[in-house]
Symmetry: C2
Subunit: 596 residues, 2 copies
């Protein structure tokens, strides 16, 4: 179906918004009135600009509080409407949105509302314009879609139809099934927005917290299905008021917006995408660093061995059990210090996974590879992390390890078995999108978001995981857009014996994060431990947590650049990531290396 976006959903000048919408692949726009008023372009110039960009102007929304008012006020409203219809003719837009009145003097009189809307539609028709009447969730007398439709039906004018808005319908808890009772040709427009489920004033909720479909808690796809079944064939149009999107760059936001409509169409069964290919594990984590020495020392102390070197690039492969870490000292590495730049995801069908990611507008990365290298399909996640879809030593597919030449090494005899999870701080403006991206592009499950108290502000953390936990990525976001204290990333390594692993790390010269004694006094109060157990934790800086399914023991290395490692022992089906311990860990990290 055609896709459209209201300019209010994006930041910047009207020109910036239109450019971003077109580049992201939208077919049309709704022009928000303030964006037009504030633009130095005339309506004719806006029309030409949109045409040049391949955008239709699908809706204009210049009028409020039109209907069910006194005759004198309505006369003024018609006068105002005529001005706006003239403007729309210049703009080349043929559908006007009229929201149900919120005016304190609006009368509770459906017949009067119908009469006024009929008159408005008759005037609109002179300009070749259609009027789409929509129930605001907080409309004074008309606040449900079925009520708005009854008034439209009673008015019975060919230039009058209804506009449906998923936020207004779902925020009120209306049953969208009834949409199918509206003739499709009388649904003039469909506006879409999702929202997190919040118990709050619906007006504030609508104005500040709307988000793109799939980012929130509403069943927007289910609603769209009903609208399609009613026979609607107009555009799917996003109208999202969101305090964060207003601040973020229009370009990436528009791409996220368009991606959400692609996924929505898949979920609603309107359009197909390449099938989901869920990764089964972490093939490797790639660190880029200007100086391989400190990272190498850390990996060595953790029990990794440098087992291979890339045939054509300055990249070392460090291995231990099924955990593999690439250390890349190539030119791209020299800019921002040591960081986690890429993740290799073990994929049942690497090419298929890349096809789906590409169809979902994930930037496909240039394949900088030598002729003899294995093909690597890679895309960029919203935070810029490169995601490689790959196969490791599987006979039926070329293996990325084939690009590496083994080097002589002492056998790795550490306690690490595999990567337990990766933790990545997300750009502040794209936290919700990050979860949606990993959910729909990679087919992971997004778990509940939790608040974590850092000494200098509240983090949010949200894990995305595969069903069996083979892939676990903890996405987090700091308290403010530019908080440089929060850009840490880490690689958590699974072990069956964290005490032994920690001791071995320390014996090899590694330094573990020191945890305050008070923490262990609290553990002693909360849990009972076997003789000596707590003493080991205290000595090594091991943190402990328990949930109904099992136990979690973990400790942290020092930080190199933006990266540190965690050693993790997960027993008996423990599901979490030790969030309970995060405030203590974060405070200890601040104390270790003051960041402000």
């Amino acid at each position: 179906m055609r896709t459209s976006i209201a300019t209010v959903s994006l930041s910047g000048s009207l020109t910036e918004k239109l450019t971003a919408a077109a580049r992201a692949g939208f077919d049309g726009v709704e022009i928000f009135e303030n964006d037009l008023l504030a633009s130095p372009l005339t309506p004719e110039e806006i029309r030409v600009r949109c045409a040049d960009l391949g955008l239709s102007i699908d809706l204009y929304q210049p009028m409020r509080d039109i209907e069910a008012v006194s005759a004198e006020v309505f006369e003024g409203n018609l006068r105002r409407a005529r001005h706006k219809f003239e403007l729309m003719a210049r703009l080349g837009c043929d559908t006007v949105l009229v929201c149900s009145s919120v005016h304190p003097l609006a009368e509770d009189d459906d017949a009067l509302a119908a009469d006024h809307l009929r008159q408005l539609a008759a005037q609109a028709q002179e300009f070749g314009i259609r009027v789409a009447y929509e129930a605001l969730a907080w409309g004074r007398h008309v606040s449900t879609y079925d009520h708005a439709w009854r008034i439209v039906a009673a008015a019975d004018h060919p230039a009058l139809g209804t506009c449906l808005d998923s936020f207004h319908i779902l925020a009120r808890g209306s049953d969208p099934k009834g949409i199918e009772d509206i003739p499709g040709e009388k649904i003039f427009f469909l506006q879409l927005a999702d929202a997190p489920l919040m118990a709050m004033d619906v007006l504030q909720w609508s104005r500040h917290y709307r988000c793109f479909p799939g980012q929130g808690g509403f069943d927007v796809a289910g609603l769209v299905r009903h609208v399609i079944d009613a026979g609607y064939d107009g555009p799917l149009s996003l109208e999202v008021f969101n305090d964060v999107f207003r601040q973020s760059e229009a370009g990436p936001t528009a791409v996220d917006a368009h991606r959400s409509l692609l996924m929505l169409q898949e979920a609603a069964g309107i359009a197909a995408l390449p099938e989901r290919v869920v990764p089964t594990g972490v093939a490797f984590a790639e660190l880029v660093t200007p100086d391989a020495e400190p990272v190498g020392a850390l990996l060595g102390a953790l029990g990794f061995a440098r087992t291979a070197r890339h045939r054509s690039k300055p990249v070392d492969l460090w291995s231990q059990g099924e955990a593999r870490v690439l250390v890349n000292t190539g030119p791209a590495a020299r800019r921002d210090g040591t960081q986690l730049a890429a993740i290799g995801l073990e994929s049942p069908d690497p090419a298929g996974a890349a096809r789906r990611a590409e169809a979902l507008l994930a930037p496909v990365l240039p394949r900088r590879r030598a002729a003899e290298d294995a093909p690597l399909d890679a895309v960029a996640a919203p935070d810029g992390t490169e995601l490689f879809f790959c196969a490791t030593d599987r006979p039926e597919l070329p293996s990325w390890t084939g690009d590496f030449r083994p080097v002589a090494h002492p056998g790795a005899a550490g306690h690490v078995r595999r990567v337990d999870h990766l933790a990545l701080t997300q750009p502040w403006h794209q936290f919700d999108e990050a979860a949606l991206f990993h959910r729909t592009v990679l087919g992971l499950h997004a778990r509940d978001s939790v608040d974590v108290a850092d000494p200098y502000g509240l983090f949010r953390s949200r894990p995305v995981t595969s069903e069996d936990g083979g892939v676990r990525i903890a996405l987090s976001v700091g308290p403010a857009p530019t908080d440089t204290t929060t850009r840490a990333q880490h690689i958590a390594l699974a072990t069956d014996d964290v005490v032994a692993a920690a001791r071995a790390f320390r014996a090899a010269g590694g330094r573990l994060l020191a945890v305050p004694a008070n923490y262990y006094d609290d553990l002693a109060a909360r849990f009972e431990f076997v003789e000596g157990e707590l003493e080991s934790y205290r000595e090594l800086g091991i943190l402990y947590d328990r949930d109904p399914d099992g136990e979690f023991r973990h400790c942290y290395t020092e930080t190199v650049g933006r990266v540190f490692f965690e050693l993790v022992q997960r027993d008996g089906g423990y599901k979490g990531y030790g969030a309970q311990n995060a405030p203590v860990r974060l405070a200890a990290q601040h104390a270790q290396r003051p960041l402000r």
Copy 2:
């Protein structure tokens, strides 16, 4: 009364929090458990640190979900409590907070709850500790203060009392009058927090939006009055969970916190402050600039004349009607470009105004003046703006103008009569405090906050004004902590004829902000104007607004440094600031001088 603050209300490490609380003048602290667990200091060291800082440790809050559980679970709870009582003995803290249980398995059995609390209190007593039981607003079975008190009364143990928390009581809409029925000696503790009035889930409201008394919408002072009348004589203790304060510097936040308790005590009639002295007008606005030329050119075109020069400093006085602008090119001016650095407030009692400000912890500014200068009482507002309390040419008081030597000048013959208002962007972390400061230190009224859509994010704007509008300051805040696009400041100048003023400005070579033609097409749709009126507005870039009381016409100059001027014609009792026009104005300013 003694004042206290929970460490969770401030950012940083425990040491940073304690230092900030002591410097701001608090007598004691509540130690939040995570702050202790994350601290490398032992309980004994914390005790010594607090003693050194002159802080008592008034409360510790280590236990949840204690009462009305199965016998087996309760046994574990008692064991846990013993650990915590031992810790408290080391810490030197004699009151423990126990919140009503939120555990899903807690039983709805007041007698059982009373029995468990009695046992807990008996154990506490062995350590010389008192148990203060508090109803959480979302407690599973106990969620009101009177219910908690009934259980405490039934338990009837000398080491068991109740803790009252203004948030939990007022968020539930309970009538605080009933507090007077509780014997004062059984009120073991009083926690205070305000909050903005919001229709939202009470747990989220409590955890993210609490604020200091006076910053929100609750009658915290009224509640405190009831608690005092009941006979309570313990500390007034702030417990504020706030996402913004968690990110802001602990030092200024602690000062804001302590100021709020001073004002609360005044409002509750517990303690007196020097009387409020409300300013009657703006004596001057002072711009600091590294280069007087562009500012002088702008002032000259606006019809100001350079009428005097300071006797001992590089400061010029520009005058027109009752509007006076100082242009300071002294050394302090060289750092940050042109900005509005100080405001002279015409005060009925400058010394008294300064005394009140000082009593309310406003930083008193050093009086850098020559021996012959008039005394100037000045303090710093939360945004760093210097506020001078002064008298202008009043016989009974020394006038600041006496420090200036008149210079020859052509008579000012412009259209400006006085300063209409000043608009100042506030530090993101202190917006709520800015309103409270102006309200209580200066005795201004804080009006409702409005949202204003800038192309790159949502602003909030909140005017503070004197009763008759003699002083009007529009406080605003940008969408994010470090948004450098939003640091603009402006001086709005009142005229009786904005068209004439704008024409004169332009004739004198001034450049007005260009307003898009689309804006005027919209004005034509919304209002009817007399012949030629709209054309003048269009020609000059004059914006128009109307409210039930009157009309508002305004236009803007170009920006110099961070500062621009507005010409304002306010007719017939119009109360606002043209907020309706702000998105168009902001977009035009971005277009004029792209800021990113």
